[in-house]
Amino acid sequence: MTATVIRSTRGSQAVIAIAAALCLVAATLPLWGEPSWMREFVEIACYLIFAMMWNLLAGYGGMVSVGQQAFFGLGGYVMLALGNFGGINPFVAIPLAALVAALASLPVSKLAFRLQGGYFSIGTWVIAEVFRLSIANVAAVGGGSGTSLTALRGISRSTRENTTYWVALACVVASLALVYLFLRSKQGLALQAIRDSEVAAESQGVGVARMKLAVYVVAAFGCGMAGALYFVSNLRISPDAAFGVNWTAFAIFIVMIGGIGRIEGPVIGAVVFWALNKFFSDYGTWYQLGLGLLAILMTLFFREGLGGFVHRRLGFEMLPTRRILQLAPPAAPATASRLTPEVTA
């Protein structure tokens, strides 16, 4: 039997086309935009990548980590060390730093995976603290006081800013594409299966332990990348800034607003977060308090998030991962007009 499977709709194709066009326009931003826009983009890009990784872990892998800042900070410090001491261009050091974070997550997972549920969350936090305290005792990177990235001194401001911006854009597009393709692939199926029932997934041939580890490592890679990127643009690092739990706090906020367990969730959440930040961040304490409250209210009363809401309203998924089996291939013109078969096997 030959199956016809639909993997995207007109709507979702339009979304992807629009996104691609936006990316192209965005790539030319340094030619016509304000430097401050680039700066804002880079910052929000770091939050977005971090939040996407958290979503992958918590929303798809069922691992609610409060310690991803361990890899964020590690990424930042490795980038700095490579740049300041290794003489490597910090932009080149970003992927290397992400790689180191991914490698570091292997032994870390051995510890963290011994805990489940809420204990996993706080356990990962303890591990992040161990990272923070360890780095804080390394005098070469300034100990508890932190240090500055000197490797970029001497490069003109506009070159530095434009490059940072392009690198950030590339990182965001790459992470989004990676997550999207991953979730559309076989592995994505396995991940969803694990989320629904670990026992059954295991009995259907899915290597649950390996899959979870893979997700954890990928998330560490992404978080490390976000961290390296952030500190390339920020130029100053300290253990408290790099390993602060507020990174995870913002990620949780972004994901809960946008909709947990959906690819577009963090993107929507990040846009909302950016807007809130722009208009309210000067309210300091009250702003943060409001974010916390909003996360609570979303969880209690609006768990699908904005992404879920939009999905219900639009009637189609913006970035679908589903496989819809076309039931009667030749007939059913009504469906065919709405749905476009993408792949036929």
Partner: protein, 236 residues
């Protein structure tokens, strides 16, 4: 496939005691026994969901007792659960695609074809794009079977898939199982619906209190006084 003196305890409760049996390739073994006799536990031991305390399990000449469940599945042991465990948020079709991709280790495209074929055969095709969580119990049980089939098993473990079926449905199921059997698949089937089991099993195994009570040719087993008393509750 052979099971050699396997035992399992939960705390002080010995659920399986030194059970041994073997199934020839292509044959169908039926397992009977009162509730809580340890039948499902036996399946859990074979599929690897639960580790055995002692004894060994050999499948197709390979000792599988040390393998993880997913490895056993990939080795060809497919199972369905007594309490259905569908991937509730995925569609029925995706449930099967997952099983085919990872259990039978085929590529996506091929998995689609396998999945669609099995859906057709098991009558789930109309439900293909529904979330599995929205199925009725009956269809969930069908899905259990379909998903197990999608892993292309050489040995199929079926846990009470006929329970609650009407006469007509049960007959259809038996016919389907006979087809599967004819393709050369080995089966072990736990079932309380005795007549359905009788119509397909080559041999029967009766378990009581984690121990083998009787084993052998179906009619002979069913007529043995022990079985009539313990299982059917009939004073022989």
């Amino acid at each position: 496939m052979r099971v050699d003196k396997v035992s399992k305890s939960y705390g002080t409760l010995k659920v399986t005691r030194d059970v041994s049996f073997c199934v020839e390739e292509g044959q169908t073994l039926g397992i009977l026994g009162p509730n809580g006799a340890g039948k499902t536990t036996l399946f859990n031991l074979i599929s690897g969901d639960v580790r055995i305390d002692s004894g060994g399990i050999t499948f197709a000449g390979q000792d599988v007792s040390g393998l993880r469940p997913h490895q056993r599945c990939q080795a060809g042991i497919g199972r369905s659960y007594q309490v259905p465990h569908p991937f509730g948020n995925m569609t029925v079709f995706e449930n099967l695609v997952t099983a085919a991709c990872f259990g039978a280790r085929v590529g996506e495209r091929q998995a689609w074809d396998i999945a669609a074929g099995i859906l057709d055969k098991t009558g789930l095709l109309p439900h293909a794009n529904k979330p599995a969580g929205s199925l009725t119990l009956l269809n969930r049980k069908r899905l259990e079977l379909a998903r197990a089939l999608a892993t292309r098993p050489r040995l199929l473990l079926l846990d009470e898939i006929a329970g609650g079926l009407t006469e007509h449905e049960a007959a259809e199921l038996v016919a389907e199982l006979k087809r599967i059997k004819a393709e050369g698949t080995t089966m072990i089937w736990i079932e309380h619906v005795v007549h359905a089991l009788m119509s397909i099993a080559d041999r029967l195994l009766v378990i009581n209190f984690g121990e083998k009570l009787a084993e052998g040719e179906p009619v002979a087993v069913m007529n043995s006084p022990d079985v009539r008393r313990v299982y059917m509750g009939l004073e022989a």
